[in-house]
Symmetry: C2
Subunit: 352 residues, 2 copies
């Protein structure tokens, strides 16, 4: 990049190799979270907007249930924003299922021009980044960003029939039945916004040649590290720049690896670190092993727990960094490794 | 949207409900297309940059072969652009496989910050739109956009084992083994660019309750119509605004439906219409039935055939509109319909 011309070219938002600093940081006007019964019984149960006691959500299949979860959450986010559906220009959505069917069938009735996004469990980070670029770039006044997962549709997609009752190692995570949805807006339309997205760091794929699909935390830890350190470098900061650094679903195993490797790299984030997957379940009583996972894990915890804390000023600046494991049953069964990716957004409290 | 403030807010790029008109239309600096043997034997064979005679591309599995196709095509596009890899900021990529494994494993070695995109066979349109927004919005000087498909990995994913030799109805399409990759840039770096992306129209999901996965042209035709008519309305034009209107892979059945419905709606596009899927194979001699399909169909035809025609001024203004059928084997086997989506970009010739 020609530094001399970068400002004239409007490239002044670029930071380092993979980060952006928004000129007019998009507002998160509203957020909604809807989760399943088990998530409702977990430590964050009271934070979510709605707990669905019927895991089928009145539908006939697990996949339709996840679609319904996405529809309900998106509608609730729109309702909470005070906007009319017509005010919102684009839908950015994703999920874990093959060919994004939960999103396709879950966003259809809303009739938005839509962008299907796939980043495995990092989808909420990827989609919020793209949504923020869309708003900051002047391509929309309001967009909606939604990501979901469902325990039963994910088990069917990636693992074993539920009836089989398979044994899970302690390194395995439990896919969250949940959905989070945010409304990103060019300006504040009256109420108190939850936060602003002031920056983002886009992850690259990191392959550590891990081949254990029951230990995805390990597979994703280095991707989280890579994006986090890239963020620090691109913005010329260190871990103390953030009140809170929050990964998506590394779980207990991935957390330990991340903290250890970061410490060796000269960063001690432990006191300000949190992982959505560890927070959403009580591993002692809920038999969830390493923690929660799935696109809906970081998305629902963001919307139900993190954003209200930022709105209230408990945390002023947060690095939110959902993590994804890039595998399918085909790639796994063919002996391929499980690479990881992590997409970060910088969320900041608004004074006043 | 508050019309009075829209210009001050930088929202002057918005057109109608679903379209954008770029302030500084991104340049398509270079494009590359790599296809399989059968595509090389088709009517457009001479247009493609490279024909891979080994359908495995030296790999062990069909999925790895598709990844290798994506790697080779992306590298070739970068090479043709004259840019260094480091000049390119983001990778926008997608494919048809569950959890985008062809893209994950195919883009990994390039080490770009990457956005995984899923729009079924409309992926190239979706990803080019997002890439163009990224460049026009000042978020990157150069991005790369790549989409692929592979006959054998798609058959395995969606249909039957190749060894089964299943019968295909005449309405079925043949998944293209091919990949297309474009470099989108904020400015012209010396050579003659292929085209500029002056606008885009983002599709919404259209469900006509079609349930025949062997007739995806029919399932996608109404989505193509919806995006096309939306484009005409948003820009206040009709079909004569474009020298060429090009869909992705409607095939013979979808084409007939689209033209008939458009005619009833008051638009006669037949004389300026083309479908990539119909062009890429000779249905008489190649036994491909309704035509080609897959993300790689419209992507490779765009890069090998359409963009050179625009560069040379044969066509001055083209509406390029890849079409996607939103199904998975799970949604289909559970009795769900096959909705469609189509994402359009407006490509214009550069004088001089």
């Amino acid at each position: 990049m020609n530094g001399e011309n970068s400002s004239a070219d409007g490239l002044k938002k670029l930071r380092g190799k993979a980060s952006l600093c928004f000129g007019e940081p998009p507002f998160i006007l509203a957020a909604a979270s809807v989760v399943g019964k088990k998530e409702g019984e977990g430590p964050l149960g009271e934070c979510f907007d709605r707990i669905e006691m019927d895991s089928m959500l009145g539908q006939k299949t697990w996949e339709q249930a996840e679609s319904e979860l996405q529809t309900r959450t998106s509608k609730l986010a729109i309702e909470k924003s005070g906007l009319k559906k017509e005010d919102i220009r684009y839908y950015f959505g994703g999920d874990l299922l093959a060919q994004l069917i939960a999103t396709s069938f879950g966003s259809m009735d809303l009739e938005f021009p839509m962008f299907g996004i796939y980043g495995a469990c990092s989808t909420m980070g990827e989609a919020m980044g793209l949504g923020a670029m869309t708003v900051d770039g002047g391509f929309a006044e309001h967009v909606i960003v939604t990501a979901s997962s469902h325990f039963a549709s994910a088990e069917k997609q990636f693992r074993f029939p539920l009836e089989y009752g398979n044994q899970r190692p302690y390194s395995a995570t439990w896919t969250v039945t949940g959905c989070g949805s945010v409304i990103l807006s060019k300006r504040n339309s009256g109420g108190k916004p939850l936060a602003r997205i002031t920056g983002m760091t886009t992850g690259k794929i990191i392959d550590m040649q891990f081949k254990d699909s029951m230990n995805m935390g390990a597979a994703m830890a280095m991707a989280a590290l890579d994006t986090m350190v890239q963020n620090f470098r691109d913005f010329g900061v260190n871990e103390t720049h953030y009140d809170k650094i929050i990964t998506g679903d590394l779980g207990q195993v991935g957390k330990r690896l991340l903290l250890d490797y970061l410490f060796k790299a000269g960063y001690d984030i432990e006191s300000r670190y949190m992982d959505c997957g560890i927070e959403i379940f009580d591993e002692q009583t809920q038999d969830t092993h390493a923690g929660g996972s799935g696109c809906g894990c970081s998305a629902s915890v963001l919307c139900g727990y993190i954003l209200p804390k930022i709105r209230d000023g408990v945390w002023k600046r947060v690095l939110f960094l959902p993590t994804g494991a890039l595998l399918s049953t085909v790639s796994f069964n063919e002996g391929q490794s499980v690479p990881g990716i992590a997409h970060a957004v910088v969320l900041e409290h608004m004074e006043g």
